[in-house]
Amino acid sequence: MKGNSFSKRNRIAYLYILPWLIGIVVFSVYPFFISFYYSLCDYNPLSEHVFIGFGNYVKLFTKDPEFYKSLKATLLYTVYTVPCKLLMSLAIALMLNKARKGIGVLRTVYYLPSLFGGSIAVAVLWKIMFIDNGMVNGWLNFFGIPNVSFLGDPKMALPTLSLLEVWQFGSSMVMFLAALKQVPNSLYESAKMDGANSIRRFFTITIPGISPIIFFCIIMQTLNAIQNFTSAFVVTKGGPLQSTYMLGVKLYNDGFKLLKMGYASATSWIIFSIVTLFTVLLFTSSKYWVFYNDEK
């Protein structure tokens, strides 16, 4: 090799990654930049686009009350889902971290919902389960509780959608499970000998030990929540009374129903800005609460 950075061996390596490289440039990088340009245009895909500067952004912030409803729904959804999913996955991971008979089966069962991912089929299933005559109300009625309009009541629709997201906690759970295995047993034993009870051991050993994974899960779940589209679109179409009209649904409706691609692109850049802001804040705060094993 001797410093020849473009040797035959390297060229072959580049060839191997070329398909991915082409894919990311064509389907991600180019649309990423062109969408910013479109966000500065009055752009109907069936006609020529006209450059209007920051007109779409000004309209979004000053003349579109729907935008604020969408923003509120998106942020509320994020606030509902991220902590709940995190706690749920950690709690189940702690439970499954103990050696017992049939633990492998239990782990698989708890992971199953995540195998379905954010699929249309799961969203349709959720809808069927939570409609007024659905299975969940059937259970409630069985225990003498009157029907709850999970999808028709504007106050209930967003929490119901959040529940769908929280239910799919399997991926985070698996990561927590792996992280828990990495925490040295010797630390627990020493703490036990020093008289630390289980709660203290959890907060002073377990949580710091798995903090990099908590950090990663918070980032990933926040990104997913802010981008949510499928459940809001399939289960409630953004309703009722726009209570689940998340930014992803607004973006879709503006772009593909009303053909305002420039306006939709501006919305997507606002989503991007929000996500970036959250990410930067989390990274900035991480130095105070995330601990890496290799830190000196």
């Binding site: 064509v26 389907f27 991600s28 990088v29 180019y30 649309p31 990423f32 062109i34 969408s35 479109y38 966000s39 895909p45 069936l46 809808k127 939570f130 409609i131 007024d132 005559n133 309009s149 999808l151 028709g152 009541d153 504007p154 990663f216 980032i219 990104l223 981008q227 289960v235 409630t236 309703g239 009722p240 009374l241 726009q242 973006l251 879709y252 409706n253 772009g255 593909f256 129903k257 009303l258 053909l259 691609m261 939709a264 692109s265 919305t267 997507s268 850049w269 989503i271 991007f272 996500v275 970036t276 990410t279 990274f283 991480s286 890496y292 290799d294 830190e295």
Partner: protein, 461 residues
């Protein structure tokens, strides 16, 4: 080490974020259906031109056309059978079917138009027809020699598919209209006669009668989607005799007071529980009462919808007797307001490379006995007299569908089309309808909101 890890994590996060934004704005990426199929031979492809005359249907050139539609299983099976029959007759033309549910169909089409990947032949939602014609995505069928419209009633096809241009841009797939499908067994028990003409106020009187009989029953099953068409647009036409929006002047034909009058009626319909609660109906798709357990269990006296839904609604609860009910009229109306048009259109994509072959298929689809027999009434009552005769003779014409169409045709209504049924105007009306039906806006507030938003929309047209 720590900072190196963080830098990588930040970069990876950014890549994921980029993938979010990348999903929007580009019209360059191909849609999953792929581009329009080209001919595998060396024959030059034709560009859309109104004077195209060379049909290659009888030649050796192999041609592939894409054809998309939406519907249920019965419609899919019948349409696929017609495609097979056509391909047997014209072995050099291959039809690739693309079919599914109606949900999202229109959105997919507009995306395909923007990426120039729309199918050669496609079914069109009735309300979207004029908008598509305005977009310039429909081929001028009058310029094609491979299809003729002799079997259609001249006035019917002029009103349905020419969009005021004098040229045929789309073909109506059947005869259809608004319908009130009545559970006669239940109506008789409560003592309601929907076979006699009545006015809008009578609906509320009957609604209260139904509630007094049993609070779990409702006179009407309607949700936001079809409520806008049934109550707002129809009432508008009855009030003024014209569509809500004047397309030529880009102005509203309605006053705020008139909108208040309509929203007041809607408000009273829901407060009196004449209509099933909005919160209950919200998760159900418009025109799909067959999925609503209340309909299946016979808890609605009538379902608001279209003649094309009759058969499926009856099959959802076959234990009761049905009739096509009369629909409400204003005593001092300027028009009956009720729509008699077609359930869908068929059209040819303006950018197709094979307009004559596509027209040949549509000619086979609409003008041959073989296709008429195969299609039966899967798209409501057929649009031509000869096909109607065939389905009447072979017994496939659904009796209640025919009755509902007849009832609908007894009203001298017209279709709005144009800006009145555009996606943005519809969204504005749906939001207001929903707000009033939930009681989160007063009729006056909803009227003010609608006028402001519609005027704002018209200012951009």
């Amino acid at each position: 080490m720590k900072s190196w890890k963080k830098a990588w994590a930040l970069i990876l996060s950014m890549v994921m974020v980029i993938s979010l934004v990348a999903g929007c704005g580009s019209s360059q990426s191909p849609t999953p259906t792929g581009p329009a199929t080209e001919t595998p031979t060396e024959a030059p492809t034709e560009t859309p031109a109104p004077t195209t005359t060379e049909s290659t249907s009888a030649g050796d050139e192999k041609i592939t056309l894409r054809f998309s539609w939406w519907g249920g299983d019965a419609r899919h099976e019948a349409t696929l059978a017609v495609i097979d029959a056509f391909m047997k007759k014209y072995p050099n033309i291959k039809i690739e079917p693309e079919y599914g549910a109606q949900d999202g169909y229109n959105d997919k089409k507009t995306t395909e138009f923007s990426t120039k990947t729309a199918p050669d032949i496609f079914q069109i939602e009735t309300g979207a027809g004029p908008e598509y014609a305005k977009m310039g995505v429909l081929y001028n069928l009058s310029a094609l020699k491979s299809i003729n419209f002799d079997k259609f009633d001249a006035n019917f096809i002029k009103v349905n598919g020419q969009f005021g241009t004098g040229n045929q841009y789309a073909i109506p797939t059947g005869v259809a209209g608004s319908a009130l499908i009545v559970n006669k067994t239940l109506a008789d028990k409560i003592g309601i006669d929907l076979t006699q003409q009545y006015d809008w106020e009578k609906l509320i009187e009957w609604g209260e009668q139904v509630q007094a009989y049993d609070p779990e029953l409702y006179l009407l099953s309607v949700n936001t989607g079809n409520g806008v068409a049934f109550f707002i647009r129809t009432y508008t036409r009855q009030l003024n005799g014209v569509p809500m929006i004047d397309d030529a002047k880009k102005t509203l034909n309605m006053t705020e007071e008139q909108f208040t009058e309509i929203f007041d009626l809607i408000d009273r319909l829901y407060k009196s529980k004449t209509c099933a609660p909005a919160a209950y109906k919200a998760p159900y798709h418009p025109n799909k009462d067959q999925e609503d357990p209340n309909w299946i269990n016979g808890k609605y006296v009538a379902s608001v919808g279209y003649t094309s839904n009759v058969q499926v609604l009856m099959e959802a609860n076959p234990n009761v007797e049905y009739i096509a009910g009369c629909m409400p009229l204003l005593p001092d109306r300027k028009s009956d307001g009720w729509v008699n048009n077609c359930p869908q259109f068929m059209g040819i994509y303006a950018e197709t490379k094979h307009p004559e072959e596509a027209a040949l298929f549509l000619d086979f689809f609409f003008n041959t006995e073989e296709a008429a027999k195969l299609l039966g009434t899967v798209r409501s009552v057929p649009p031509t007299a000869f096909a109607q005769k065939i389905v009447a003779e072979d017994g496939s014409l659904h009796k209640m569908t025919a009755e509902a169409v007849e009832r609908s045709l007894s009203y001298s209504g017209f279709d709005d089309g144009g800006l009145t049924t555009s996606a943005e105007a519809t969204k504005i009306l749906e939001e207001a309808y929903e707000a009033v039906s939930y009681g989160s806006m007063t009729p006056a507030e909803a009227a003010k909101d609608v006028v402001e938003k519609l005027n704002s929309f018209l200012a951009t047209q």
